[in-house]
């Protein structure tokens, strides 16, 4: 088979495979917890010694603004903030706040995703960022933001 024909055949095969409905295993895998779920939770979670969730929510929004994120969604009552920024693809983050059981502190959980649009493709490819330093860096910015926000800066 000539190279061009081989390429056309491959393209047809790939698009045919893409059009097939996913198998039961593939569908189950879409929601399967990863082996590193506990590690991911630990990486993306910090406890802040304040019960003032509203002030901390403002600090989260401030930290995201400091990092150049635009706020896409926020639900103040549920403590949810979602932001994104374009930076060699699209980076999305979700930050959720919840008070601890004794209501004397607040737990902040962050998740970062990266998406890259492919020319001609319908769906972007993406991944959840698992780099520890991304989360450490974000929580450092958040701590600094809490300080600056408290001082009305």
């Amino acid at each position: 088979m000539r190279p061009f024909h081989r390429r056309v055949g491959f393209a047809a095969l790939v698009s045919g495979a893409a059009a097939c409905a996913p198998t039961s295993e593939q569908q189950a895998a879409a929601l399967a917890p990863t082996a590193a779920a506990t590690a991911a939770r630990a990486r993306g979670t910090r406890r802040f010694d304040t019960a003032d969730t509203r002030a901390l929510l403002h600090s989260v929004v401030g930290a995201l603004q400091d990092l150049g994120f635009t706020i896409e969604e926020s639900q103040a009552q549920q403590g949810v903030v979602v932001g994104s920024k374009a930076s060699g693809g699209l980076v999305r983050t979700q930050v959720v706040l919840r008070p601890t059981a004794d209501r004397r502190a607040t737990v902040v959980r962050a998740t970062f995703q990266r998406m890259v649009r492919r020319p001609g493709a319908m769906l972007p490819i993406g991944e959840t960022l698992d780099d520890l330093l991304v989360y450490q860096g974000f929580f450092e910015k958040l701590a600094q933001s809490a300080f600056l926000t408290a001082h009305e800066i």
């Binding site: 400091d66 635009t70 374009a86």
Partner: protein, 138 residues
């Protein structure tokens, strides 16, 4: 030889544009405090709702369309097309002594707004909408 020299110039330049995920998330032009200094103003009113409405109408005056607004938290995000894609977020919070603190941030295409000029323009529009002068935060 010349081709090699060109390649030697182009490759590092291309590498400089490539960002890893850490840089994508955490890279900023200014320090946190410096960025806030240029993008934050305090207005001498405790009426946050009034400032919120004024922020929305200022964004409209500047050609933005609001993507979302949260009156409880005090955030407005908007997009403007033309001369590049501009995404802009304005947040409001209560300051001490009947003041409302307004903070803005945004991106022009793939870059964050790190120059004082766009923020000055926005705060001028907001000041006019409010009939109040925005004070710089020390």
């Amino acid at each position: 030889m010349l081709r090699l020299a060109c390649l030697a110039l182009i490759v590092p330049a291309l590498c400089a544009c490539q960002l890893d995920s850490r840089q994508q998330v955490l890279a900023t032009t200014n320090t946190q405090a410096a960025q806030r200094a240029i993008s934050t103003r305090a207005f001498d009113t405790g009426d946050r709702d009034k400032v919120f409405q004024a922020a929305v109408s200022s964004l409209q005056d500047l050609g933005f369309v609001v993507d979302r607004a949260d009156g409880v938290l005090g955030t407005v995000s908007a997009t403007r097309y033309g001369g590049g894609l501009v995404r802009f977020t304005v947040t409001l919070r209560q300051g001490g002594g009947a003041r409302t603190i307004v903070r803005a941030s945004g991106q022009l295409n793939q870059h964050e707004l790190s120059d004082p000029a766009p923020f000055q323009r926005f705060f001028e529009a907001l000041s006019q909408a409010l009939f109040l002068q925005g004070n710089a935060i020390d």
